[in-house]
């Protein structure tokens, strides 16, 4: 059980692919202009990563060191192509928006990285969970950047969600600053992606530092306390 917890914490926070490992930055920066794009690419990446982790874990005893990489690449490539075909069939407009970044999932280092670092050394279930948590961590960062850029850049949130969820989702769009918001251009342009991503990394580092500080304070206390008990006989 603790292994599963560790995998989850690693994927979502400690070694978050986007904020800590800084892998897959190309799609991260390129398609996060809006929440719907971020969600589309996040889900596609999740499909590929979970699939490839499961497949790699299944074959981990068959392949040796020499042919490991070509075998992994083959698996990842076929999962990516399958995902591309599925998106083309079921979310055609989103597929057109995301365009080249769907086939480019194959080059996302997170996926080959997890296959090589985790799935080929672990059993099926942990590998599947690792794939899921890593891609979930990646997707949450995509969504955060997408959300922030959409709000600042276009003044909307959740616009065009019907591209994924069908016509009924058209009403989810939320205009935060009214109809006449002109949009803050830099957020929509590539530099905005860098700025927001950097901001998120900074926030994460601040939180980590704060956690570390509290843990340290916590671990220091008992020592002090016990000393005091001995010297003064009082409990602090």
């Amino acid at each position: 059980m603790s292994q599963f917890k560790e995998i989850s914490v690693n994927g979502l926070w400690k070694s978050n692919p986007a904020l800590v490992q800084l892998l897959g930055l190309c799609p991260l920066l390129a398609v996060t202009g809006s929440v719907v794009n971020a969600l589309g690419l996040g889900l596609a990446t999740m499909l590929v990563l979970v699939g490839s982790n499961v497949a790699v874990s299944l074959i981990r005893n068959t392949v040796n060191e020499a042919i490991k990489l070509p075998a992994f690449v083959m698996i990842i490539a076929s999962f990516t192509t399958c995902t591309e075909l599925l998106m083309q069939a079921f979310t055609y407009e989103l597929y057109q928006i995301l365009g080249i970044f769907i086939p480019l999932i194959v080059t996302n280092c997170v996926i080959l990285g997890r296959a090589d670092a985790f799935a080929c050394k672990n059993k099926l279930l942990p590998s599947a969970l690792d794939g899921f948590m890593m891609s979930l961590g990646f997707m949450l960062v995509l969504l955060a950047i997408g959300g922030i850029r959409e709000i600042i850049g276009s003044g909307t949130l959740l616009s065009n969600m019907h591209l994924i969820f069908g016509e009924s989702a058209r009403a989810w769009e939320w205009k935060l600053f009214g109809e006449n918001y002109k949009g803050f251009l830099v957020a929509v342009l590539p530099p905005g992606a860098f700025l927001v991503a950097g901001l998120l990394i900074a926030i994460k580092n601040i939180i980590d530092a704060e956690i570390l500080r509290r843990e340290k304070a916590l671990s220091d206390k008992p020592v002090k306390g016990s000393k005091r008990v001995r010297t003064t006989g009082q409990v602090a």
Binding site: G33, N64, I75, C82, L85, Q88, F90
Partner: protein, 211 residues
């Protein structure tokens, strides 16, 4: 020893290739029809947006006139393309002509221009572009209604000389901060109208559907 490991490894990789190819083949076959249907629906949607279903009763997607290779340059096109023709009870109603404006701010702007038989514009749509978000991308109907300004214009209204953006002394608005994009679109739409005028008889006379 080495030979043995090589042949064993190739065998494993070969098996892999076959299995993954098999998975791909199954997915491809399972999604092929749906993808074709989606592509057709998307193409149809773009056409019927310009020439509504109520104005024609033929299948515009199939009713095409293939642009001769020698004329592709007049529309800025690089690859073989066709003109779609709308008809109502065998009567020609309008055509939809694809074109590319090469002089946008960043790269090609792909357009389709619907032209009524009398030479007036039924509508213009941008199919794809790489213009600056927030500035030049207002040519996209999803972002701005500017492109509807072409509706009902023709080569004589406004005057031929006025087929320019206002900044150049013409009839059409530009956007704040973006003149190059509208200028490119206006120029190409004008050229498309001229192309239609010059080749009208050819286009409407010959409706070879065999290609």
């Amino acid at each position: 020893m080495l030979g043995k490991s090589i042949s064993k490894n190739s065998l494993i990789l070969g098996t892999f290739a076959i299995v993954t190819a098999g998975v791909l083949a199954v997915t491809f076959l399972a999604t092929r029809d749906r993808i074709a249907a989606e592509e057709k629906r998307a193409a149809q949607k773009a056409l019927t947006e310009i020439i509504p279903q109520s104005r024609h009763d033929n299948d515009m997607l199939e009713d095409v006139w293939v642009i001769p290779e020698s004329q592709l340059a007049e529309l800025g096109l690089a690859s073989p393309s066709s003109i779609h023709i709308a008809r109502q009870s065998e009567q020609n109603i309008a055509v939809v002509i694809p074109s590319i404006a090469p002089d946008g701010y960043s790269g090609d702007i792909k357009l389709i221009t619907g032209i009524n038989i009398d030479g007036s514009v039924a509508g213009v749509r941008v199919l794809s572009h790489k213009e600056t978000p927030g500035l030049g991308d207002k040519v996209d109907l999803n972002k701005h209604t500017w492109i509807l300004g072409f509706n009902d214009t023709s080569l004589n209204a406004p005057e031929t000389d006025d087929w320019k953006v206002k900044k150049d002394g013409g009839h059409f608005d530009q956007f704040t901060g973006a003149t190059i994009t509208p200028r490119a679109v206006v120029k190409r739409v004008k050229q498309t109208l001229e192309y239609f005028n010059a080749h009208k008889a050819e286009i409407l006379g010959n409706t070879d559907e065999s290609i």
